[in-house]
């Protein structure tokens, strides 16, 4: 068996936790328990987990507005995440960040980012620190197909290539930037070809296939640790819900989402594969499902019961270290 059972169970648990967390976020948002703008990543779980499963807390990731999955894959506590998304004082960022700015520095999660293209230059910085300090750590930026067209993203790619930074640029190509198709936003035919032009190895994988994605990222990560510089990996995937929760998605084809949920569900594909290969038993995964259901239920209960921040003490704090 090419993978340890423990590895497969961890991968499954992480992907399934993201799925359940996102589906519950959607429900709680619709029920009025989650304020603001929330971008769910259900459907794209395999990429987050494939990228993060081998990383330590000292390896850094930078995320996007669609960041819940990256947080969970990097080991953030789902209870603390739910509290943050609900704006509670015991949340990961004391309720000051919310879904679009959720971060967990201790876990090497540098933050979701509400500015498209805000992340890659910062992740270059984390990679530069690792290289300069000689730590052997790597940095991973998550990007969308849309954010590939932001100047900051392209500048960061070029600089990463020039400085040979240990930075893995992951492009989650879900076919859309809001309501604009990925193809429309891209002047050339292939994002991967364009990224290769920056002077780094660039590969395109099926992001619905956890194993294909994991193998590509594993090679890139090892290359970065060995001083071989940056890599671009485009993972084609499907966004199961709206751009933001509540998006009517009028721009999508009639049965597009329904069909994708049936045929391109990375979680189903993973389950079918590991059962078919005889790597895992369904019962083991079903047991994990039960645990996750309880964990998410508790996260929501605790979130709703958690105290709101107190303006008298919390509004003015944390602007500076000292002032």
């Amino acid at each position: 068996m090419p993978y340890h059972e423990d590895f497969l169970l961890r991968a499954y648990r992480s992907m399934k936790t993201i799925r359940e967390f996102e589906e519950r976020c959607i429900k709680e948002f619709m029920g009025g328990n989650v304020p603001g703008f929330v971008h769910a990543s259900n459907g794209q779980e395999a990429i987050a987990v494939a990228a993060c499963i081998d990383l330590s807390n000292s390896d850094i990731i930078g995320s996007t507005h669609r960041g819940h999955g990256h947080c969970i894959a990097k080991g953030c506590d789902v209870g603390d995440m739910m509290k943050e998304i609900m704006g509670r004082s015991s949340g990961l960022c004391k309720g000051k960040g919310g879904s679009m700015h959720i971060a967990d520095i201790d876990k090497g999660m540098l933050g979701a980012n509400a500015i498209v293209g805000g992340g890659p230059p910062l992740v270059n910085g984390a990679a530069l620190a690792a290289k300069t300090l000689g730590t052997n750590h790597v940095a991973v930026s998550f990007n969308g197909d849309g954010s590939a067209n932001q100047g900051t993203t392209m500048e960061a790619m070029n600089m990463a290539a020039v400085l040979q930074l240990p930075h893995i640029f992951i492009y989650e190509n879900n076919g859309y930037a809001e309501g604009t198709s990925a193809n429309y936003g891209l002047g050339c035919d292939s994002l991967t070809d364009r990224n290769a032009g920056f002077g780094m190895p660039a590969e395109c994988v099926d992001g619905n296939d956890f194993f294909a994605t994991y193998e590509a990222i594993k090679v890139a990560t090892q290359r970065a640790r060995d001083g071989g510089g940056p890599t671009s990996i485009e993972a084609k995937c499907v966004r199961f819900d709206g751009h933001f929760i509540g998006d009517p998605q009028l721009y999508r084809g009639e049965n597009e989402v329904k069909n994708a949920r049936k045929d391109q569900d990375c979680l189903k594909i993973f389950r079918d594969r590991v059962i078919k290969e005889g790597w895992l038993k369904a019962a083991a995964m079903n047991a994990i499902d039960k645990e996750i259901a309880l964990e998410i239920e508790k996260a929501v209960e605790d979130g709703l019961a958690a105290p709101h921040p107190d303006p008298a003490t919390d509004l003015m704090s944390d602007v500076y270290c000292s002032y």
């Binding site: 309501g179 429309y184 936003g185 891209l186 999508r252």
Partner: protein, 358 residues
């Protein structure tokens, strides 16, 4: 009490409507902006709209014009004018603003949308080093007739990077005009002027006001820049407020009127140019000034206006000037904190009572 999420407020009829005549309709801030842009596009084929999702659905299998801007302001323009004139762009703000500025120098009148004005960050060089300075640097020989639209302000629980005001930053820059309508009537007239104006205009729409309605003339009219509006008149205290803060200033003035305290509420409507004469004339009568602004307090609009009055109207003042602003922090996400962050009616009332020594 009023919260930042006040929606669908009906403003009292603007007295200026009498001057325009013709038929009127009840329109939302969103509809008024849409009408202004549509009519100008019909009138002038050089007016174009560009930005992310200004139509939406580009290259997709489903509906075209799926968004019409994420707040629906440009909805319906693409079906009427086509994708040649209503241009969905990649997510590339520097290129969007640069294209608008360059096109403005070359015969078009672009309306570039930044969606959330916070995204000015990625495009700022094209605005402040390029578009704003062309005319001066080139000895008055160039014109850059462009509008940059964006939504500003807190109240949507949108977090630190989607809720900033930032109007003070652009007001600081010579060469830019800065417009901040507080109601649908002004939104239409100021947008028409912004499109017809020969200079780069920053047009800031407050995101909590898109559904606010008032009476709006059906015909096209331009409101000149630098002319304040006076939504309430009084003699005891001058309240200067901008954008959504006008809503709170009016509400405070109405509460105080019942106690026999009358307020002169001044809405400058454009902060660059600024109608400082109107403010100084009012302070001459009242001797007391409160400035309400949702921006951060340092180097902000409130301190700017307070500074002008301290310098030019000092001898009219009977009490120290009071400013009501957001605190010196980014915009917090948590509703409990965001509600405390944004100035509200209570804070305006407290400031007015303070300058009255009451």
């Amino acid at each position: 009490m009023s919260t930042a999420l006040t929606k669908g407020t009906k403003m009292t009829t603007n007295s200026n409507i009498a001057k325009i005549g013709g038929t009127t309709s009840i329109k939302s801030y969103r509809e008024a902006l849409n009408d202004a842009i549509r009519e100008e596009m019909r009138r002038d084929p050089t007016v174009i709209v560009l930005g992310e999702e200004v139509s939406g659905g580009a290259g997709c299998d489903g509906q075209d014009d799926a968004y019409g801007g994420v707040f629906g302001v440009t909805k319906g323009l693409m079906p009427e004018f086509g994708r040649e004139r209503v241009i969905d762009t990649p997510i590339s703000e520097a290129a969007i603003i640069g294209a608008a500025a360059g096109a403005a120098n070359n015969g078009l009148r672009p309306i570039a949308e930044l969606m959330f004005f916070d995204f000015i960050g990625v495009s700022f060089d094209q605005i402040f080093n390029q578009a704003a300075k062309f005319r001066y640097m080139f000895g008055g020989k160039s014109k850059t007739p462009m509008v940059i639209r964006g939504t500003v302000g807190a109240g949507w629980r949108a977090g630190a990077q989607h809720s900033s005001m930032l109007h003070s930053i652009v007001t600081h820059i010579a060469g830019l005009k800065v417009v901040m309508p507080s109601n649908a009537y002004d939104a239409k007239g100021l947008m028409v002027q912004a499109i017809r104006d020969e200079d780069p205009v920053i047009f800031l729409e407050h995101k909590v006001m898109y559904n606010n309605e008032c009476e709006v003339p059906d015909e096209q009219y331009a409101i000149p820049f630098g002319e304040a509006a006076f939504p309430r008149q009084g003699k005891d205290v001058t309240i200067v407020a901008i954008s959504n803060m006008v809503t709170h200033a009016i509400a405070a003035a109405d509460i105080l009127a019942e106690e026999g305290i009358t307020c002169d509420v001044i809405d400058p409507r454009t902060v660059s140019p600024l109608d400082d004469e109107a403010i100084l004339e009012s302070v001459e009568v009242t001797g007391r000034l409160v400035v309400v602004d949702e921006g951060n307090p340092r180097c902000g609009l409130a301190s700017d206006i307070a500074g002008i009055v301290a310098e030019k109207g000092f001898y009219s003042l009977k009490a120290p000037i009071r400013t009501v602003t957001a605190p010196h922090t980014p915009v917090p996400f948590a509703p409990a904190l965001e509600d405390a962050y944004v100035p509200n009616v209570d804070k305006v009332l407290a400031a007015v009572r303070d300058v009255l020594g009451a």
